[in-house]
Symmetry: C2
């Protein structure tokens, strides 16, 4: 397989670049034709790699690409999940090259979706091609590649529910996470959940002149700021009533093990550019970003935002607020607690609305399972080092849903790096990482087939 991969490296990269050129932004309806085009691209590549059947499955939203290769029903079946949609690219002015015109610089491919998740998803397509071409496929394989991950997978659950037989498998394999560094491979064993809401604060029924009315009416922007400020206390604890009730505290041993992972605060500051780290009192940065829940304003707007000075008191102010959740917080419960709390703290001078967006449950996967062991040995073979089990800070809400509906555990074989700038301008993916993924994934199939015997 190594020889096949090496000989086809340039072609694999070229295909990924073609895939990255299609702006499959799922949040934006005007990109729907691009999203469809991307689904067709994935279908074609799965077919040419050797899948028996590939279907573009319509949903109420954007389609899911399903493909399979059943070599022997008695062998274990791996269900690969990935997504072919990408985050919006804005703010465009901060990109050094256009987000949908991929360029290679310093051995990295720069484009929206390079890592999240086109690059990582495509490793699986090329690993499958490699196993097929070299006669080394040791498991049955099914692919379920969706186009709505970045908008919270609103139709995936329905699809999974309606196709439980078709999706029967032994394990789910996903590459949509990162690893510590190219020298220190790691496998994500836990993920945070998500609760996401949009809030609207209304003061006057129309925009008012700040000279004529200023001082006599509550300004909804000022009020929104005050309400947001009150959501955390001086120790950066979230003040939403009941927010921490179901948070499982880790043992001192678990915390010590997690804090032993290679992590340099100066590197973290240099990477992010923050003058100082911040976070909930009593926890480390590694803990802040993995085992502790958060509350972040992801967007805020209101009033006059253009050049120059306009003396206006806006009628409305808005914010998008998300909370990352940890076991055993339930996203529906947290969203409800937030809504109640936010309404309860609104002063009588304004009215407020809270609109829930999608949510996702936190998950943790055990390191002594067959699937984790199969992945761990695969990384060990290609990186020459045993990977570190890590709790991740992000959310893949569908992992909890797969467990619930299909009864399957997921293995998160991520090859991205935290520095890949996913969801940000200048997203990129190392060619080293893309190729390591293609080398490592087939070994997982081998190990998994052996361990399952």
């Amino acid at each position: 397989m190594e020889k096949f991969i090496a000989e086809n490296k340039e072609r694999f990269i070229g295909e990924l670049i073609d895939l990255l050129k299609i702006p499959s932004v799922s949040t934006d309806a005007k990109h729907k034709p691009d999203v469809i085009k991307t689904a067709e691209f994935v279908k074609e590549k799965l077919l040419s790699a050797g899948a028996d059947v590939v279907e573009i499955c319509e949903t109420a939203g954007l389609p899911i690409v399903y493909g399979e290769k059943i070599i022997d029903p008695s062998l274990p079946t791996v269900l690969v999940y990935g997504h072919y949609d990408v985050q919006p690219a804005d703010p465009l002015e901060l990109w050094n090259s256009p987000p949908f015109e991929p360029v290679i610089k310093d051995e990295k491919i720069y484009a929206r979706g390079a890592c999240d998740d086109k690059g990582q998803m495509y490793m699986h397509v090329k690993a499958f091609e490699t196993m097929m071409a070299t006669g080394k496929l040791t498991c049955n394989v099914k692919f379920m590649i969706e186009g709505e991950e970045e908008i919270g997978s609103p139709n995936l659950e329905i699809y999974v529910r309606e196709n439980q037989d078709k999706l029967k498998a032994d394990v789910i394999l996903i590459s949509d996470t990162g690893m510590l560094s190219n020298d220190t491979p790691s496998i994500t064993t836990g993920l945070r959940g998500l609760s996401y809401v949009e809030v609207e604060v209304t003061g006057p029924k129309r925009d008012l002149h700040s000279g004529l009315y200023g001082g006599g009416v509550a300004n909804p922007i000022n009020v929104l700021c005050e309400m947001i400020a009150s959501l955390k206390d001086e120790n950066n604890k979230i003040t939403v009533a009941g927010f921490y009730d179901k948070v499982v505290e880790l043992s001192e041993e678990e915390r010590a093990a997690m804090n032993a992972a290679p992590f340099n605060i100066e590197d973290f500051k240099a990477d992010t550019g923050v003058p100082e780290v911040a976070g909930e009192k009593g926890y480390t940065t590694l803990e802040h970003t993995s085992i502790r829940p958060t509350l972040d304003v992801n967007g805020i707007w209101g009033g006059y935002m253009e050049e120059g000075a306009k003396t206006v008191i806006a009628s409305k102010a808005y914010a998008k607020i998300s909370m990352r959740l940890v076991p055993d917080q339930n996203p529906d419960e947290i969203t409800e607690l937030f809504q109640k709390h936010f309404e309860s703290i609104a002063p009588s001078t304004v009215t407020v609305k809270v609109n829930p967006h999608h949510g996702g449950r936190p998950v943790v996967t055990p390191t002594d399972s067959v699937e984790y062991q199969a992945a761990s040995k695969a990384y060990e073979a290609t990186f020459g080092k045993k990977p570190v089990p890590m709790r991740g800070g992000g959310s893949i809400p569908i992992v909890a849903m797969f467990k619930e509906l299909l009864g399957l555990d997921s293995v998160l074989m991520g090859f991205g790096l935290d520095t890949d700038a996913i969801h940000s301008p200048n997203e990129h993916f190392g060619i080293f990482n893309f190729m390591k993924g293609i080398e490592t994934i087939p070994l997982f199939y081998q190990n998994y087939a052996e361990l399952k015997k």
Copy 2:
């Protein structure tokens, strides 16, 4: 004169509508040709009304229209100030008819600038035409109509400084304020000043994924909200150190007189749509909006503001913040105090920048002056009621500048209403008010010439 005005009413309104059709938005460079076109419109109308000389005076920015009619150097001279530029029209979706396609509904003209200040400025042009046509001009008159009021008149001061001889006059006459109601005429005797800043809070050097980094870095939007929230205390007092040091407290008598003005809190709530009024503890709504300084966020933005959910921690968050000032607060001092305060409260997890925009000093004009008396008698004649002297909440920074550079007091003969929605969607101006202005202004000239004898 009454007859002339009545006979020409339709034409006067038609001309104003033509003037309102030109989108002379000074904040937006792409409207520069419209601004120039508007200046030419004003020039032409002054000439045809009978001005001896009209010039379009170039500045470093947008031009000033200067015109004059000197009938007798021994008579007093009135210098009319107005502006032909308008505020931006956004948010466009809240207008019931396009802002630059004026419509008349319920005896009101709806268009951006209908009241502020095209409608009110044009009353002076038509009053001048009326006096010329009927042989009733009793004073010399000079017009100075600028095109940059809505961006803080950056070039007017230079123009005034360089043309002190040309602008020699006895009094300045301005219609850029409102009156209490059509039944209760009033004249503005005081104006608030203005300090306007834009602030920028920077956290990470790039947008970060809120899953991977959330909880471990300060989110600049959350921080901006916390900083803004801290700018007022629980009594709605502004916390900027030194902010109130120079505020002149009114006597109990003055406060009682001002609170005797007709004002109904329920009407105010119905007009603005606020569920409750708000404001600094210990003062009434009338006081909040006139004799007390304010701090309002006029705009805020950062992060993801489009449809859907994006899980991002923005690199930067921004706000436009203005403070209305009262005697004897100095805008430059207040801007400096704000800047120092804002920098001092920034946590070490972010960096902040404060960029000052334009400012203006507060002013108060005496009611026993010749110019106030001339105006008061004019209103009394046309409205049948003595006008109420009122402190206004808005700012006309140039009034203080005229006093300083030309040594002249200004008379603020406003005919607009607080409900005219200036700076807001659906700005309008009553035809009653437009016509009353044209009738009242010539009487000011008559009274002023007599009182100055």
